[in-house]
Symmetry: none
Subunit: 375 residues, 2 copies
């Protein structure tokens, strides 16, 4: 897109008063002037930044934030707080998120970043969930997580139930926070937060030091929708924040699914009305797998290949999940890279790096026509 | 279709041992031999009937039933019991029912036959309804009966609730019985039966004197489905008889609608599974009116669209979804275009055109600093 250095993008993102739109304009500006024009942006003076549309105070802010000591300080904070960073410029940036109109420029994370490359489904709903809502959320989420990673917002009620359910199954779960990635909000979900940082993934667009404010929640919701093939809404009263996520998903041309509930329940009404906007009913995970059958790994792959690998006992412990998945797919049948993209749900970029790693480890072999098979 | 006299069709229908298929064959036979060949069938001898495929006992039965005294006796019974008759040969036979694969040849009725010519919607469900099921059935049925006549089966539970609800609105309700039309079954619905014969319509395919047996209920269900544009199922356990009606409707290429309920409720499960067969969710009568907007009377459409737009807070029907979304976002709070991009998920270009359209319609206003608010 542009020749802007990664460090400059992070500095722009972390400069108070420079918003997402301003950064989009700067990237656009760099693009218009040709790749490379922003290469030396680290050395820009305030006037250069003002030429790119920033105000005087914005320009002063970014110049200060690109000084050597400021960069060092940022690095120090990220390291000390053990926060990972992925920018829009990185190959490992989630492909689905890249497609939305206003992607986050920088994502902070804790836990296993690889989860973003799995097939993903969001499950959201009201914080004031009923017992029914929490129960069916856990069940559906656990079911979905057999073949997809469940994305939600760590809120009370439906979100928490979605994370708990998904943690019980293989593909796990991603929490998208509104505030700092290393601060649990709401505090009562602390145990869940710890579980997610050990066995899942926590991401946020908010730089360390961000003060949590209401306006961050709808922004967070766009990331939940943007990361996911589709959004399941379990219970949501009219005007519930979960419906913002549903609206965003429709805006991104993603699917919205509704878990039926009683039409007289105020906790269900808002969600049920999305049937009128073309949302699909979900009774259990099979409805979701059916909707994405062409994008998911075959259902029997897991159970059968878990057995296979146990029998073989030959997959080293240090393999990544992605390597294991690709190896298992190839165990069944030699595949082209196109077929693997479809069956693994990975992006080309990610799959390419996984195949390379397996080739280097001499576990697979590439035949003419880019057909891969196991050795 | 054929030149068979009406009286002969009624006699065939009322002859024990001559079933619907035999009558279809006879009509077909008459058709093959040309109009008029059955004109004098009232004078046929047993041999003539046997030539048309009837057995000896069937032939003897119809010959006996076409004797002058037998005809007089039948007329006497119908008159005495105040039962109206409509046959497949009559112009007033319901057009929708004529289209199904196995239409009833004769329909007995009490009450206002004219109701069959209204737009019709069936509402059926389990006899063992929950309080929730009965309540939403009454509400939806009353709503539907503002513009359509509601068809059901006078059974306990959902059926009874459907009739009660519809009796409160203008287009009323039709009960299709399995047994004799002038005998109330189940007996506990006697008050409802009386109300229906005074202010609605009761129909049955079973001749006076028919002894009620289980096999008549699925036959009754085909008439419910056959009379109606579509079938709404409110609550139905797996294997519920109401689902036979839904299956028949699908077979007749009619719509099936499901009222959502809890996916954990055994009383809802059977119905909810029809979502997987392409059934549509119903939250209230507007979903039904929407589905049949092109088939409902125009004058009524006007009044109901006034209601619909009331529900939407006076947003005209001709707004696009995008306009509605942006308007709703602005209803909450005035927003800048940047905030709207984020919250709507639209691209700048699309949002710009939507804002322009809303400005032209004088529904929103632009303040200095590109802040938009509703008028």
């Amino acid at each position: 897109m542009t020749g802007i250095p990664r460090e400059v993008l992070i500095a722009l993102h972390e400069t108070d008063g420079i918003g997402r739109i301003s950064i989009a304009n700067i990237l656009q500006c760099g693009k218009a002037k040709g790749i490379g024009s922003l290469r030396h942006s680290a050395d820009f003076l305030a006037g250069d930044w003002r030429d790119m549309g920033l105000s005087a105070s914005q320009a002063a802010g970014i110049v200060a934030n690109l000084r050597y000591d400021a960069i060092e300080r940022r690095h120090g904070v990220h390291e000390e707080r053990e926060i990972g960073l992925v920018t829009y410029l990185d190959d490992v940036y989630p492909e689905l998120l890249r497609q939305i109109a206003d992607p986050p420029w920088v994502m902070y994370h804790k836990g296993n970043w690889e989860l973003v490359h799995n097939p993903t489904i969001a499950i959201v709903g009201t914080r004031l969930a009923t017992g029914y809502g929490r129960k069916v959320t856990e069940d559906i989420s656990e079911g979905c997580a057999q073949r997809m990673t469940v994305v939600s917002g760590l809120a009370r009620g439906i979100d928490a139930a979605a994370h708990y359910g998904a943690l019980r199954a293989r593909y796990g779960t991603i929490a998208v926070l509104a505030g700092e990635v290393d601060r649990c909000y709401p505090p009562e979900n602390k145990a869940l937060y710890r579980e997610l940082s050990n066995n899942g993934l926590i991401v946020s667009e908010s730089p360390p030091g961000t003060i949590l404010r209401p306006g961050l929640f709808p922004l967070r919701n766009r990331i939940i929708a943007g990361l996911s093939y589709g959004v399941i809404v379990v219970e949501a009263a009219q005007k519930s924040g979960a419906l913002i996520t549903a609206d965003l998903a429709l805006g991104y041309d993603r699917d919205v699914f509704i878990v039926p509930g009683q039409i007289t329940s105020p906790r269900s009404k808002g969600a049920l009305e999305y049937f009128r906007k073309g949302a699909n009913p979900v009774l259990d995970e099979t409805d979701i797998f059916q909707a994405y059958s062409h994008r998911l790994p075959a259902s029997d792959i897991h159970s059968s290949s878990v057995q296979t690998s146990k029998q073989l006992g030959s997959q080293p412990e240090n393999w990544t999940d992605a390597e294991r998945l690709v190896y298992r797919l190839l165990l069944d049948n030699p595949c082209t890279i196109d077929e693997l993209v479809t069956r693994s749900g990975m992006t080309f970029g990610h799959l390419h790096s996984v195949l390379l790693s397996l080739l280097i480890k001499r576990r697979i072999h590439q035949q003419p026509g880019s057909v891969y098979h196991v050795l």
